[in-house]
């Protein structure tokens, strides 16, 4: 028999039960939780920080990179290079890079217009001018890796994109796929070549050759997973920019003082 007391009691418990979300009944499996956290078990995520205010275009980074990584010194291919941006008062952006990527620095005010042509720019006409070092962005979503048909290029657990020279067939898809143009064919190995943050150095606790060679501290490398890393602190708390964000590649080379003219 339904008494008033029982009716009210059941109504209250019924409403309470209905208001519980379904998720409350799900049994939490600690192993599953651990697995989702261990998706990327690496304690390291290498990132780069470039301060364009500090860069003087000396090119010591390019020189050190070529010698450290055995990229033939007198060829025009290089894993890292320095670009010069000169924006004149009429709003025109005169960007250039020496044919050797800035290996010997910028020792002239003449701008390299390619095909052996040069351009003189008067000092008075310059609105702003600066140097921007470029290197592989070690993207979180590297398009160069997606297009490799043979699994020769891949992202290491610490975020660095590497090329397996024994496995690369030289199809060149990755060179076409990189929106930043950092890949090229190695003139000796005839395989795809790119900056790998001096993988042999950073995994031994050293800095990359270009970071060590930079006299002005314009280039820095850090571990994004370490909250006490000075580079991480800057990336987290200061205004940094990345290149071609709209491509969705999530580049991991961060720039201080990036201008909208920089491409």
């Amino acid at each position: 028999m339904i008494t008033r007391r029982n009716f009210l009691k059941n109504t209250v418990t019924g409403i309470a039960a209905l208001s519980l979300p379904l998720a409350a009944f799900e049994i939490v499996d600690p192993k599953k939780l651990m697995a989702s956290e261990a998706k990327n078990p690496s304690k390291v995520r290498w990132v780069f920080l470039i301060d364009t205010y500090k860069c003087t275009g000396c090119g010591f980074c390019v020189k050190a990179c070529k010698l450290e990584n055995e990229v033939p010194y007198d060829t025009n291919v290089t894993r890292t290079w320095v670009e010069r941006y000169v924006i004149t008062k009429d709003g025109v952006n005169h960007a250039d890079t020496p044919d050797n990527g800035g290996r010997d620095g910028f020792t002239t005010a003449r701008m390299n217009r390619g095909m052996g042509k040069f351009e003189e720019i008067k000092k008075e006409d310059i609105d702003k001018a600066f140097f921007v070092p470029k290197l592989c962005n070690q993207c979180e979503n590297p398009p160069c890796v997606q297009v490799c048909p043979v699994g020769a290029t891949y992202q290491a657990p610490d975020g660095v994109v590497l090329v397996d020279r024994t496995w690369c067939i030289g199809c060149g898809y990755c060179i076409m796929g990189c929106p930043y143009g950092v890949r090229f064919f190695h003139p000796v190995h005839h395989t795809a070549e790119k900056c790998n943050f001096c993988y042999h150095r950073i995994t031994k606790g050293l800095k990359t050759a270009c970071v060590d060679a930079c006299p002005f501290g314009a280039r820095r490398i850090g571990n994004l997973r370490d909250p006490n890393d000075p580079v991480t602190k800057i990336i987290m708390t200061e205004r940094v920019g990345v290149l071609k964000e709209e491509y969705g590649t999530k580049p991991q080379a961060f720039y201080l003082g990036l201008d909208r003219e920089v491409k």
Partner: protein
């Protein structure tokens, strides 16, 4: 009737078996999709070690300190202290055993990397004193007057 229908099937199965056998032999044992699946980490695991084993060539200025203490100390007192020894002296590699002698870059171009005047506003380059290489003792090595480890020594 039976055999001429089945013969191409046997040939097909044979080719498939051959391809599978070739794959077994040719694909390294450690080849597979790792942390980030086929899209980003499909590779031969051993290649990570291959890259880690590349020889380090630039050793850093602390490597030079113990033998070339005088040079290390003298440059440390000048504005040139920010420049690594190997930027001019070349990578040490296994010096002094290999190479026993390093080739020093004494060219004017080496100094002009920083000291060619480019007064670019908002760039660090504008803060460095420069010279006009066509007017400032052309045809002379900079180091014949300036000691690179102490550039204004005896000149002020």
């Amino acid at each position: 009737m039976k055999s001429h229908v089945l013969r191409p099937l046997f040939a097909f199965l044979g080719i498939v078996a051959l391809i599978l056998l070739a794959r077994l032999v040719l694909v390294p044992k450690d080849f597979g999709a790792y942390d980030r699946g086929y899209m980003y980490s499909w590779h031969r695991l051993g290649n990570e070690e291959d890259w880690k084993n590349v020889k380090v060539k630039y050793q850093g200025k602390e490597y030079c300190k113990d033998c070339h203490t005088d040079k290390y100390d003298s440059i440390a007192k000048t504005p040139h202290k920010i420049i690594q020894c190997e930027n001019c002296h070349g990578p040490a590699i296994d010096h002094p055993s290999d190479p026993p002698k390093l080739a020093i870059d004494k060219s004017r171009g080496q100094c002009l990397r920083c000291h060619y005047p480019l007064p670019y506003p908002s760039s660090g380059r504008a803060l460095i004193k420069g010279i006009d290489p066509d007017k400032h003792n052309p045809d002379t090595e900079c180091s014949s007057c300036h000691n690179p480890h102490n550039p204004m020594e005896g000149l002020r």
